[in-house]
């Protein structure tokens, strides 16, 4: 060991912040990690990239906040396989999501959200979840006939006798926009946009 841990050091503070996060559903599960590696051995991102869930928890328990800047954390599939197999009831998948929210709050992960601003726009202005238009070109290149299908969607839905229509009412949209303003969502999105334009 090259560094010594002093009794006044509190590496556990970082783990405590995660435990207290609103998203955490595993109480103090992160503190119970025994580094068995079950998460890594079943993880699709670990199988095909340098992502390593066991290592993430080790670094969290070491109080290593630079994990928030590690590109690899963005490779998680959110498949919750680690969450479902952990023998001590920890969830690296949730810890990963919390780390990313910490990164975003600290302005570190903004660039990772630029491509996904379309989700924010469609929900805020139309109360719908829609795949951002920025990806349409890629989808049309990769999926034969997709754009034509989308153009004929109304016809297909009519044939299936589906209602109500896809677009929510003005009243619903206003209520949803208001909710996303008071939770701080709109301010956050505005800030991310500003950083994108800089």
């Amino acid at each position: 060991m090259t560094s010594q841990q002093k009794i006044t050091d509190s590496p556990i503070d970082f783990a405590e912040d995660i435990i207290e996060d609103v998203k955490n559903s595993k109480d103090d599960g992160v503190l119970k990690c025994v580094q068995c590696g079950m998460c890594t051995s079943t993880c699709p991102a670990a199988r095909h990239s340098d992502y390593n869930p066991r290592d993430i928890i080790e670094r969290v328990l070491d109080g290593d906040v630079t994990i928030m800047e590690d590109e690899n954390i963005w490779n998680c599939f959110y498949c919750y396989t680690c969450h479902s197999v952990c023998p001590v009831g920890n969830s690296v998948c949730e810890v990963n999501q919390i780390l990313k929210q910490f990164a975003i709050t600290n302005g570190i992960g903004y660039d990772k959200l630029y491509e996904y601003m379309g989700f924010a726009d469609s929900y805020f202005t139309a109360a719908i979840g829609a795949i951002p238009e920025i990806f349409f070109e890629d989808i049309d290149r990769d999926v034969p006939g997709w754009w034509d299908f989308r153009q004929n969607l109304d016809e297909i839905r009519d044939e299936l006798e589906l209602d109500p229509p896809l677009m929510p009412s003005k009243e619903v949209i206003n209520e949803v926009s208001k909710i996303l303003t008071i939770t701080g969502f709109k301010d956050k999105i505005d800030k991310i946009r500003e950083s994108q334009e800089e």
């Binding site: 963005w74 975003i104 004929n152 996303l180």
Partner: protein, 313 residues
């Protein structure tokens, strides 16, 4: 086993089902009607935020506040049982109910925001809904009516080689509520058996992710498609005709990108992809265009199902 309701259901609309595979909604309604399930759809309910949430754009407070509004929509209709066609909506809504009931600080924070901004009618009281008793996936509801399936089957699909892909966000997120196994998921295999067919059961990578990984498919497509190829190869090894799904995210990944992954792997993948409700609706006599929504599929359904043979009574 937990009590599964067959009435007072709010069928929760899914953004992906609506615009990618609308036949999943039509098939769900068709099968629910056949099985005598009491449900309604509301034009006031909005998307669960799932795609934005798992792309890290929506945080937990944003998503849970939107959830609280949708839960109020359900309660006002006296339909407190939410049933989801999408595994992500299922996981998102169940988590929000759990958090609102368990975390007093979060509930009080959201209620205070509602109170201070003229939205008091949306307030959520502790235990307004229960995660296990009120939040379901369509497969749960079908499982509750398992004994009624057989009598409604019109066509015999037993000659096809059938496998199941159980979505991660149904099986693995809230595993304490998952019916039919988590490590060896079987709820859809059991439902398919009620349609008079036998699935191949376990296969390599059966419990693995579809590979979508939310942001991975768009920002990291190599990683995404490599993970999907693991499963597609396993399906091809078993010479599967029909892969049955329960989540539109997985459905997109397999149906829309099968052609591309085939090219990447240098191997012909030929399975068609049906949601469990489409599979069941087909077996119950649903029309390809008016119920199944075959035109929305990229891998043509009739490339495998060329003719239907009636079951022998």
């Amino acid at each position: 086993m937990k009590n599964i309701p067959d009435k007072d259901l709010l069928l929760f609309r899914s953004c992906l089902v609506s615009v990618e595979y609308p036949g999943v909604e039509a098939s769900t309604k068709f099968v629910f009607d056949k099985l005598g399930i009491d449900y309604a759809i509301s034009d006031k309910q909005t998307c669960c935020t799932g795609l934005g949430h798992y792309s890290d754009v929506f945080n937990q407070i944003d998503t849970t506040a939107i959830g609280a509004r949708n839960f109020k929509v359900a309660r006002e209709l006296n339909r407190p049982n939410l049933v989801m066609m999408c595994a992500t909506c299922y996981a998102i809504n169940k988590k929000s109910v759990k958090l609102l009931n368990k975390k007093d600080d979060l509930r009080e924070h959201i209620n205070k925001l509602f109170d201070e901004n003229g939205l008091s009618h949306l307030k959520y009281e502790k235990d307004d809904l229960k995660p296990t008793e009120n939040i379901f996936h369509v497969v749960d509801i079908l499982y509750g009516k398992k004994d009624k399936i057989k009598e409604n089957i019109k066509y015999d699909l037993s000659d096809y080689t059938i496998a199941t892909h159980h979505g991660c966000h149904y099986c693995k997120v809230h595993y304490e509520d998952t019916i039919g196994g988590v490590r060896d998921p079987n709820i859809m295999d059991e439902l398919i058996e009620e349609c008079g067919c036998k699935t191949i059961g376990w296969y390599d990578h059966k419990r693995a992710t579809c590979g979508t990984g939310f942001r991975q498919r768009y920002s990291n497509p190599d990683l995404s498609f490599t993970a999907t190829a693991d499963k597609m190869n396993a399906i091809a090894d078993e010479d599967v005709d029909i892969l049955v799904h329960l989540c539109p995210n997985c459905h997109i990944q397999f149906d829309r990108y099968q052609h591309l992954i085939s090219e990447r792997e240098g191997r012909n993948f030929r399975a068609i992809h049906l949601n469990i409700t489409q599979f069941m609706a087909l077996a119950m006599g649903g029309d390809f265009d008016k119920v199944i929504g075959a035109k929305a599929h990229t891998v043509p359904i009739d490339s495998v199902i060329k003719e239907l043979k009636e079951v022998e009574k």
